[in-house]
């Protein structure tokens, strides 16, 4: 079989067509066209499966890639190259990702037809769901950062629409704005990075970037006093941080659960958040060249640990899952940082399966019980046996129990992190990365089993609102209370349970690797069959030098890509563990035992605390810490109180002065004008900031970016003209084009 555009493009186009049809004619179709959305994504799945099959069964050499591109426009003049290519870039990693995204999205679509049944926003939901999926598929297929950025923004818009689908609820509206604005901060940096790459290389195609790295085009280029490679790598990683919700920009993801649960499943598992990890993996050679891998590892470690601690005290079942997503994304980013390229990508895949399944299970619970506060659940095992089974499998996976997929990928990341932190001769302070990583792994096991025990075990508290789960209720777990029979007993149903069960099959570890005990030893299959390890490897930049671009309509041949004899390597940063170092094996053995031990400890503590009740819950033992964690480390307050009030007060005064004193009609009297400025500024603060903060915790969730933009976006279009010209001019003068 040969590859033409016609055999790849439908992956991306089918959901787009479904989106267009549903957007314009959805109301006229039976069932608002949800079957069309399912069908389109299934078509993508079929095409992806074919491509994956070809790559998997060794049709191509392992470092084969398909790159078809056409020049969209070319503005080169003289020696300056400035062109935009559009095209398809597909390698092993892309094939795996396509299969995962389309497969998980298909199951989520099918589940949604059940979950959103009889919902008033049914049609709207099924308009955005295929668009979201197609944007992710397009992002995976795109061959350059520019088209990646386009899909990136479409995804941002779709997540905004899906989170705020019940826009009449104030919290949902705020959450969608917060998600949009927070990721926007990252997006600005990503765009800056793209433009900077354009300036120096003249193209933002992956292949051109790789070959420019190999040829050393970045050497000696400086911008704003730092090396150009560092600058662009940092900008692109900041973009990834916004999308993948890493530490300072993580505030949007927990709020994103305001949307319908299948939408959250799509955002958290298959699409939105993995895009950030995806772009960091694609630009991995640039990150290494720019020597920012230590920064990536530290950010990932902070996120992994911090989010895990917050997840310990959440009571909303979706909030626990949301923070666990944050934490797992932290592990992926650690994986990128410590050079564990293959394991980081494997964690993307395994995480997508179990997190989608967890969210769908949570959706199943919420739909059956109409309750998502864990203190008001409990004992659901009898009523929802299939959901219980699926969720248990996923919980075992995410907790890192051996034989399950989460263990396989997380153990690799942690083993490499251990090597990175203690044995690779890096800065000793970086030992914080494995320490936080292992601590977070233990917490993960604890909070996930806490969620399981509170939801499915113990007595049923569904309708006894006076009981807040402090253990003084009836000890008799089997004592039905009067209302328990109102929960419908679950039956096996194609649309509600089967997607969960199918997803839970892929939480078994042996689909991905043969590790039973750990990376260092105990391999079931032998190295020959470790397909993931064979297929996925960090891009070797040398092989991209002097490659001819294939015409967009060409048919791909299967020739082996020959590496040029001359080595062009320009490496400066830490590029992953050296496989010949004997210490690496030691690190892997220690890491494997440590992660097994830590996972079981976490599970055991959760068991003691919530089943045996021989340890008091955290809230009783450490009330102060719990309160801090419940307030999510006060990030929302920090952004408003400290950054806005202290840091931006000066800026705000300056802008207000600019607005009123200069741009506006000039004040007649200078003193009066100054007084008026201060008065207005303080009045503005009174109304917006202090009032907003005066309201209790959730009301304060007006965020930083909203406020900053309110200053800049005065709604005065002429002010925008000025800004436009000034920003353009500042770009040209600072970057010295």
């Amino acid at each position: 079989m040969q590859y033409t555009v016609g055999s790849i493009a439908p992956i991306f186009l089918a959901p787009v067509i479904a989106f267009v049809i549903n957007a314009f004619f959805g109301r006229k179709l039976p069932r608002n066209g949800d079957w069309l959305a399912c069908l389109s994504v299934f078509i993508s799945f079929v095409f992806s499966a074919r491509i994956f099959g070809d790559f998997f069964f060794g049709q191509f050499a392992t470092d084969f890639y398909i790159h078809k591109a056409f020049t969209w426009f070319d503005l080169s003049y003289g020696t300056h190259i400035f062109k935009v290519d559009m095209g398809i870039y597909l390698d092993n990693m892309g094939a795996i990702m396509l299969l995962m995204v389309s497969g998980v999205a298909t199951l989520i679509h099918i589940f949604s037809t059940w979950y959103m049944d009889h919902d008033e926003r049914h049609g709207r939901f099924f308009t955005f769901l295929p668009l979201f999926t197609s944007a992710m598929l397009g992002l995976v297929l795109s061959d350059n950062l520019f088209s990646l950025f386009i899909f990136w923004e479409i995804m941002g818009f779709c997540s905004y629409s899906l989170i705020g689908i019940y826009y009449e609820k104030e919290k949902a509206g705020d959450a969608s704005l917060k998600a949009f604005m927070t990721t926007r901060v990252g997006d600005v940096f990503l765009l800056l990075g793209i433009v900077a790459l354009w300036m120096v290389i003249g193209s933002v195609s992956y292949v051109d970037i790789y070959s420019a790295i190999a040829q050393g085009k970045f050497d000696g280029q400086m911008v704003l006093g730092i090396s150009f490679a560092t600058f662009t790598a940092l900008c692109i990683f900041l973009g990834a941080m916004g999308k993948s919700a890493q530490f300072p920009l993580h505030v949007w993801l927990p709020d994103a659960m305001m949307g319908p649960t299948p939408g959250s499943a799509l955002i958290h598992a298959a699409t939105m958040v993995t895009a950030g990890v995806w772009v960091s993996l694609r630009m991995y050679p640039l990150m290494v060249l720019g020597d920012i891998t230590w920064f990536i590892a530290v950010i990932g470690a902070i996120t992994a640990f911090g989010a895990a601690t917050i997840a310990m005290v959440q009571t909303d079942i979706k909030a626990v899952l949301a923070y666990s997503t944050l934490s797992q994304l932290g592990y992926m980013i650690i994986g990128v940082g410590v050079g564990s390229y293959n394991a980081a990508f494997m964690h993307v895949i395994t995480h997508a399966f179990f997190k989608a399944c967890l969210f769908l299970s949570a959706g199943s619970i919420i739909h059956s019980v109409h309750e998502q506060e864990m203190p008001k659940l409990g004992g659901l095992r009898k009523y929802l046996p299939y959901t219980h089974f699926a969720m248990m499998a996923c919980t075992l996976a995410i907790a890192g129990i051996p034989l399950f997929s989460g263990f396989v990928s997380k153990d690799r990341i942690l083993g490499d992190a251990l090597y990175y932190g203690f044995m690779s001769g890096q800065n000793p302070l970086l030992a914080i990365v494995p320490i936080l990583g292992f601590a977070g792994a233990g917490l993960t096991a604890f909070y996930m089993f806490r969620m399981m025990f509170l939801t499915f075990y113990g007595e049923n508290r569904t309708h006894s609102h006076d009981d807040h789960g402090h253990g003084h209720a009836k000890k008799d777990a089997h004592g039905h209370d009067d209302h328990a029979h109102e929960i419908h007993h679950e039956h096996l149903d194609l649309r509600s349970n089967v997607p969960l069960l199918l997803l839970s099959i892929f939480t078994l570890g042996f689909w991905f690797s043969g590790n039973i005990v750990g990376q260092g030893f105990g391999n079931m299959f032998g190295a020959k069959n470790e397909w993931f390890k064979i297929l996925v490897e960090a891009p070797k930049v040398e092989k991209f030098v002097d490659r001819q671009k294939q015409a967009f309509t060409s048919v791909d041949s299967r020739e082996q890509v020959a590496l040029p004899a001359a080595s062009y390597h320009h490496q400066s940063g830490y590029a992953g563990p050296n496989p010949n170092d004997h210490k690496l094996h030691t690190a892997h053995v220690i890491g494997a035992w440590a992660s097994i031990f830590i996972a079981f400890t976490g599970v055991f503590i959760a068991f003691l605390m919530y089943i045996r009740k021989s340890i008091k819950p955290l809230a009783d033992t450490f009330p102060g810490t719990t309160a801090l964690l419940k307030a999510k480390y006060n990030f929302d307050h920090f952004y408003i109180d400290v950054l806005i009030k202290q840091g931006l007060l000066g800026l705000n005064r300056f802008l207000a002065w600019l607005d009123m004193g200069i741009y506006d009609r000039y004040a007649i009297d200078g003193v009066a004008s100054v007084n008026r400025v201060i008065f207005k500024a303080s009045k503005w603060f009174d109304n917006v900031v202090i009032d907003a903060i005066g309201v209790d915790g959730t009301g304060v969730a007006v965020n930083l970016f909203n406020l900053v933009l309110r200053i800049v976006q005065s709604g005065k279009i002429q002010f925008y003209f000025i800004m436009l010209v000034m920003v353009l001019a500042s770009y040209i003068w600072t970057l010295n084009i």
């Binding site: 709604g715 005065k716 279009i717 002429q718 003209f721 000025i722 010209v725």
Partner: protein
């Protein structure tokens, strides 16, 4: 012979005049005038380049399209202005704040 640069300078001046009009005026109709100036500057650039650099007629076609788009833009823009005037009884741009908050 007249050089390319002289056309570019005229076009630059027209563009800047349009920019000044767009920023300094507060009347929506006047801002539309500024937009027309800017569009004309761009179209002039296209024709000048097509005579001096590319030597084909693509620039002419492009400026024709600019004229078409400008006509459409003027029609819709002025319709909006008139509608706005019917509602607000003013054409001051700072009054156009309905989408705020």
């Amino acid at each position: 012979m007249v050089s390319l640069t002289s056309y570019l300078i005229i076009s630059l001046f027209l563009f800047v005049l349009g920019l000044v009009v767009m920023i300094a005026r507060k009347n929506i109709v006047a801002i539309l005038l500024g937009i027309e100036l800017i569009l004309n500057a761009a179209a002039l650039n296209f024709v000048a380049y097509s005579r001096y650099v590319t030597n084909n007629l693509d620039g002419h076609v492009f400026s024709l399209f600019i004229i078409v788009v400008a006509a459409a833009e003027a029609a819709v823009g002025l319709a909006i202005v008139i509608r706005f005037f019917q509602i607000k009884e003013t054409t001051h741009i700072d009054e156009a704040t309905q989408l705020r908050n």
